[in-house]
């Protein structure tokens, strides 16, 4: 039996949203909250890179609005970041596919860091959050986990023959 491709893609995106929503036990140290990888952005970037004709800016925006609602941020704050991630993915997906996993991880770091900084900039204007370099930690962990996410999602894509 073959699943509809859209179902598989959105299934992984919803899984990423679940990981975003999951909260840590109360006893966990605070640094763990900072180093949480940006699961939704990673999964999104993978699909944009792998099937750019299916997953693009619109999917990115919808996913972003869902994340906004989950985190209680301003509607559109994550959506903007995700659209930028999708834009980077769309404009260089051919090169990204040729890159080694390490090079890809570097690109993941830069795009997620860019989206984060933008979101942080909005936070500064709206809520008066003050700067800490910790906001970039999640981009670092995302880049470190990228090889695993990539191999997992590629196996999934091949298993369901999504192209």
């Amino acid at each position: 039996m073959k699943f509809p491709d859209t179902l598989v893609i959105w299934g992984t995106l919803v899984l990423a949203l679940l990981l975003t929503a999951a909260h840590l036990p109360a006893a966990a140290p605070e640094v763990l909250a900072w180093i949480r990888p940006d699961w939704a952005a990673m999964v999104l970037l993978y699909w944009v890179m792998a099937v750019p004709q299916r997953v693009g800016m619109v999917t990115a925006w919808c996913l972003g609005v869902l994340v906004d609602s989950l985190t209680g941020s301003l509607l559109g704050q994550h959506a903007l970041g995700f659209v930028i991630i999708a834009f980077v993915g769309l404009s260089m997906y051919e090169r990204l596919r040729m890159y080694s996993l390490l090079q890809q991880a570097l690109i993941v770091f830069f795009t997620i860091a860019l989206a984060r900084l933008l979101g942080f900039w909005i936070d500064v204007m709206v809520r008066g959050v003050s700067w800490t370099p910790q906001i970039l930690l999640s981009a670092v962990t995302s880049a470190m986990l990228w090889p695993f996410v990539f191999t997992l999602l590629r196996a999934l894509r091949r298993r369901f023959r999504i192209a």
């Binding site: 919803v14 949203l17 679940l18 990981l19 975003t20 929503a21 999951a22 909260h23 840590l24 036990p25 109360a26 605070e30 909250a33 900072w34 949480r36 609005v65 869902l66 906004d68 609602s69 989950l70 985190t71 209680g72 941020s73 301003l74 509607l75 559109g76 704050q77 903007l80 909005i122 936070d123 709206v126 809520r127 008066g128 959050v129 003050s130 910790q134 906001i135």
Partner: protein, 283 residues
């Protein structure tokens, strides 16, 4: 984003999206729920014992409180001052915590369908937690008093000194700002809600002053306080609602329920709605 920040046009859209995304929190909470039910029976016995003891000591206190309440009502009647309004309580469980470390907020498992409204005060057993800022159909989001954007009007319980308590964005700290050097504030002072905002009911504990520092050259004291509520730990919270003062005044003017004279104690015109898990009780 500008529209969302400056206006309330997107409110309906927001609560619709929240109704869709809230189940994600319920699902992500399942591991905790599962461990709770696995180890539940062992803990249940211990809880039962300690809760029984607590119940006993609290009911002894309640006996005294009853007499005090009567006395308070009589004295208030003598003074001719306004009556206290009773609050209605609704219980809710925390199903999620938003992941953003700079502005953590809680997701409650009750929403519009249970009568939760925006701006509703949220308490735990130790003190004020925050207020509801977003209501979905079956969930709601609570902004904590420690959030950067949250300010709570408080009184120092000892001397009724009024001040504003600012959230710092850090989980363990609040700041009492714009307090002049001459003010009488000491470490250990209990800060309670003043109720002057018309949103939080007066008299609930909010924080305890931890340190008072005077920095030379600065016009105000630097005062830090620790929240009284277990902001990071509490799972079972209480939502408080009470008829606003305006409602009470209007009812008295129209005179539909008899006001019952000055010694009616608590607000006589207001009858709590029967609710399966709502309780009637004063602060």
């Amino acid at each position: 984003m500008l529209v969302d920040h400056q206006t309330r046009w997107l409110e309906a859209f927001r609560s619709a999206v929240v109704t869709v995304t809230a189940p994600l929190y319920v699902v992500s909470n399942l591991p905790y729920a599962a461990t709770d039910s696995l180890f539940g029976y062992i803990r249940l016995r211990q809880d039962n014992l300690s809760l029984n003891e607590q119940l006993l000591s609290l009911s002894v206190e309640a006996q005294r409180a009853h007499a005090l309440r009567e006395e308070n009502a009589r004295l208030r009647a003598l003074l001719g001052s306004s009556e206290r309004v009773e609050a209605r309580l609704e219980f809710a469980e925390v199903v999620g915590v938003t992941p953003d470390p700079t502005g953590r907020s809680l997701i409650l498992g009750k929403g519009d369908a249970h009568g939760v409204f925006e701006g509703q005060p949220v308490l735990d057993s130790d003190g004020l937690m925050g207020q509801v800022v977003e209501v979905g159909r079956y969930s709601s989001r609570v902004l904590l008093i420690t959030d950067l954007t949250h300010v709570t009007p408080v009184l120092i319980n000892r001397n009724d000194y009024r001040a504003m308590l600012y959230g710092t964005g850090e989980a363990a700290w609040l700041e009492l700002r714009h307090v002049p050097e001459t003010a009488d504030v000491q470490a250990g002072d209990l800060l309670v809600t003043s109720g002057l905002d018309g949103r939080f009911p007066p008299g609930y504990p909010v924080a305890v002053v931890a340190s008072v520092e005077q920095q030379p050259g600065e016009p105000f004291l630097h005062i830090r306080a620790r929240p009284a509520a277990q902001l990071e730990r509490s799972r079972h919270l209480v939502l408080v609602s009470r008829p606003s003062l305006e409602d009470a005044i209007q009812r008295r003017r129209s005179g539909d329920p008899p006001s019952g004279g000055p010694d009616a104690g608590s607000d006589a015109g207001w009858v709590p709605e029967p609710s399966s898990d709502g309780l009637e009780g004063g602060p």
